[in-house]
Symmetry: C2
């Protein structure tokens, strides 16, 4: 008897239109969990470095977390695992909503997809049947239309993951949209382009089979006890969403201004904050599966205007990216830029970053186009140009790193990325643990790989080793913090939990407890953390096999050598060299950054 | 009336076999001095970024310093200025000996060469004639034979600059040899390849016209007063050559071990030091023109062996490069590696660095060849393979950066270079001012652009602003020190002086005094230093025009993020980010590293 998961994976080859179901052994689940944990295991088993990310034979995985679909708070996440067409290395793109839970309700933990359909198709998955259906009529449609049409066909009880024109056009920063206009996205690393390269427009899941639980009563009791704590730590998220903290973030120097060149956005931050949204719009909360927080925001109506809206409000990353980052303080532009990205299937972080990059190139005269900072019309038209690969948009569709190499003449200077992934909206000069986190994150410049900046602000997590307190601007102890948080965070995507749980002080001890109650699988907190470490190292193995080493574990020159001139992070430049040196030692990596576990894994494979 | 220089430049177009003499105005000399100062002025005037360094039309300049050929102590230097085929950016390669003085005695301050001869040629320059002569018979000969044959033809009174097989084969780390087997070399940046690309085997100069001096009596008096001070500061150089300090250098952690990965060479350092040479060889001193130091060492005989030798002893850079850097403690291997490089026309720094690079790649399994650390036979055969571009040597002939890109699979990690120029044998982890100096040096990783590590050890120079004392391992004040020393050192190559003068505590005040007495050209010490700053910035302008910016002002990952594990520099990692941030501010550069003077210069040109 399995609890909390199905032990079944779908293997679909689109070239051959072949559908298989493979069993998943308990020992594999115990070793790798599910989500991106099983993801790295499967992608390493099928590793072929000569297979380019957009090759028809390149595999892509959709796997729900081990707890996804159970009542464990926030257990909604699905990991999309693949070799990123943007960075050429490991990518796990995580998404909430209900899709991951519904996949399990349909009877499967994950889907392994290879091949390329002859014509556009979508995959339909239910308890009774799995089929590959023609999607010729959907091709070219945006994600909202795709979602609506499929809902009309199958009824409201389905969940849809789809790509928009960006993914179809192999835009390297294309996302996968979940559940249409008000949903969520698997954004980072260009997974939408991989779906596009397979002629796969959408995946539809439907199901109602509730997951059996190992100790339902005990689990519900534990949840009941902990939900108040989670709610109290995330109250501001519930009230104003992730974008609520904009003004505070600006004050600490964490908010990127003008492509990470500037220092403060001041009034602009207030004008683009969650409070400003609440003032200007009628807002409704959105919650992912099993989530007690409900940080999502739907915009129902602009106050004073009659039309009803049905669009998602901007998240913090989006608000900062289409706001401070590009010197735009017009909230409406942010709202519609966000909507356009969701509709066309573009990652809002990378899209705002390539636009910031283009604005700086324009200012510096490195491109002919006139793209003034903060120009709302230009922002919206550029988003379309990127999705449809028109003119400059065709170059920007490659992401800042490749675009900068194509443009040349020193444009590389303005590509603010790590390993090809554009940085998100947290400046490591404000919280220096993020410098080492970005430098070593397995998918490149990613804040979610450790979220350690919370710890630098005093957050404590049961079972996670931390110093009594941290100076956000010092390098002291930050390498260790990043290691510990990366290990911890690697458990999240494997279990399918939302990382905002940490704001409710949920530690590894809670995770081990829930895991036991939901699935019967026993880990001590330390064992679970060790598993996180192993998963992190396995992802590193994947990257090392693709040529990643110490030389890539650095930050863009602007972050590494340029200090903000005012504000909360004034004068701070993280000592990345010192931290990386410490980090390698703590990780037990070779001087090139090869994890010892690499060798262990290779041996095991022989 | 001109004092100390001729005011005449030769312009030679080898394609058209055209020889012209151009006058040099006094105001230009006052603005740019000569040597690499006039070099950057002329190369900027003739700048064409689309002209690749080995294009027949690419210009190369041989210019004596403003004081070269006068009795000013060490006034022997000639600058070879060009766009480096190794790095693609500014290169000034400086050489002592008598060639520079003889060029002036022949009636010219410099030679501007463009075009490519149809067949191999050499240029003959005397007071009476300048001619382009057939060198078909010399082509393929090494630099010693070339020197000998030309001496046989023209008599002992000539000085020869020639390339060996490496330059002919367009090896990117090919040097220009001066005066054959016991002479000197313009080594860095591959100037030999540019001569080779022009089918220019050699330049012969002869002349006897002594330079008129503005105030001969005053100058001789000043020299007489200062020579004892110079001699006393450089006594160890006179006794044991530049390689004398090997053991001390090892102790401070300044000596690179195992491609900058190791920490200490201990007994190896003693076995490869100047003292060891003096014990094992009969040694004779060699002095460049007007030099009271005579740091050069000729090996006359290996003690206990009957044969006479006539070869140059290894300099510090060579001894360290073919010693500690590649874990070779066999002195004889170093001696013959040095001789082979001189003979074949290879830069000993870059050659030892590409060999260290190859040894590390071999150890890591990134190349198939078996090249054990410290293997004497392999070292010597690799040197030949590089010069003749055989097998792996053909790849290594491109320098470590391009070779690493060609080899791929993370080989870039082991290329220890800045801007494509392999680092010399001073580890910036021992003296952190060298980190910022390497990062910003106009020809790339070059210790001569500031020599600031002397100041970190307590050296004081009249007229050069310094702190009372420096902690060699701290970043405090190092950006400012590097700026001041770079400005100061830029005066040296323009005047044609040897930088070892600083070990005799010669400051800018002395330089201004000698300049006045020798040429009548008046500068306050500050004005002269300002000129150095302007020249440094103009070279930066040249590089910026070729795409160099902040992104290039960094160090290789191994230096930037890896600490030595024992020895004098144990645990030190320079904070390059912090220093670079300070440095840009001190230089008044834009955030991308564009000097303000760039704009001034561009305006002036319009």
């Amino acid at each position: 008897m399995r609890y909390g998961y199905r032990g079944r994976l779908l293997y679909i080859n689109l070239t051959e239109r072949k559908i298989e179901v493979n069993e998943l052994s308990e020992s594999i689940v115990k070793q790798y969990l599910l989500g991106s944990g099983l993801g790295i295991k499967i992608l390493l088993d099928n590793f072929d470095k000569d297979l380019s990310p957009l090759d028809p034979d390149a595999p892509m995985l959709f796997i729900s977390g081990l707890l996804t679909g159970t009542p464990v708070p926030t257990a909604s996440k699905l990991s999309v695992c693949l070799r990123s067409p943007l960075t050429g290395i490991w990518d796990e793109s995580t998404v909430g909503g209900d899709f991951g839970a519904f996949l399990k309700f349909a009877g499967y933990d994950g889907i392994y997809i290879t091949g390329k359909a002859e014509k556009p198709v979508y995959i339909f998955i239910s308890k009774d049947e799995v089929k590959i259906e023609d999607a010729t009529d959907l091709w070219g449609k945006d994600t909202y239309a795709t979602n609506d049409i499929l809902k009309e066909k199958y009824g409201a009880d389905i969940k849809v993951a789809s790509i928009g024109p960006a993914g179809e056009n192999l835009v390297k920063i294309a996302s996968i949209n979940i559940e249409g206009r008000v949903g969520r996205a698997a954004g980072r690393g260009g997974p939408g382009a991989v779906m596009g390269s397979k002629n796969l427009k959408a995946i539809v899941v439907t199901g109602r089979d509730v997951l059996p639980l190992y100790d339902k009563k005990g689990l519900m009791e534990s949840i009941k006890n902990l939900v108040p704590q989670i709610k109290s730590g995330t109250e501001s998220l519930t009230l104003f969403g992730t974008v609520g903290g904009m003004v505070k973030v600006d004050k600490t120097g964490d908010l990127p201004v003008k492509n990470f060149y500037g220092s403060l956005f001041t009034e602009g931050a207030a004008k683009t904050s969650g409070m400003a949204i609440a003032e200007e719009y009628e807002v409704k909360n959105y919650r992912c599966y099993a989530c007690p927080i409900a940080c999502g925001k739907h915009l129902v109506r602009k106050k004073g205007f009659p039309e009803e809206l049905e669009i998602a409000g901007p998240e913090y990353e989006t608000g900062a990216g289409f706001g401070a980052l590009i010197l735009n303080d017009d909230l409406e532009t942010i709202v519609w830029a966000n909507d356009l990205c969701n509709r066309l299937g573009l990652d809002t972080i990378s899209t705002s970053m390539v636009i910031a990059f283009a604005m700086e190139l324009s200012e510096k005269g490195l491109i002919d186009e006139d793209i003034p900072w903060g120009d709302g019309e230009k922002i919206l038209s550029l988003i379309e140009d990127i999705a449809y690969r028109r003119e400059l948009g065709d170059t920007l569709a490659e992401g800042t790193r490749k675009a900068s190499q194509e443009i040349g003449h020193g444009a590389e200077e303005y590509s603010i990325d790590v390993k090809g992934l554009e940085l998100p909206m947290h400046d490591p000069r404000a919280f220096t643990s993020m410098a080492i986190n970005y430098a070593t994150g397995n998918r490149g410049g990613c804040h979610l790989e450790s979220l350690s900046y919370y710890a630098e602000q005093g957050l404590k997590l049961p079972g996670i080793k931390m110093k009594e307190s941290y100076d956000p601007h010092s390098d002291e102890g930050k390498a260790e913090l990043a290691v510990n948080m990366q290990n911890y965070m690697n458990v999240y995507n494997a279990l399918g939990l939302c990382k905002f749980l940490i704001r409710g002080n949920i530690g590894i001890t809670h995770l081990a407890e829930w895991l036991k109650l939901a699935t019967g699988i026993e880990f001590t907190p330390d064992e679970l953390l060790k598993t996180g470490e192993r998963l992190f190292n396995l992802k590193r193995v994947y990257n090392v096999s693709l040529g990643i080493s110490r030389k890539d574990d650095l930050l863009p020159p602007r972050i590494m050598t340029w200090a903000r001139e005012e504000g909360g992070a004034k004068g701070v430049i993280p000592h990345i060299g010192k931290m990386l040196n410490e980090y390698y030692k703590l990780r037990g990596w070779s001087e090139e950054g090869l994890p010892v576990s690499c060798l262990a894994y290779k041996k095991e494979k022989q």
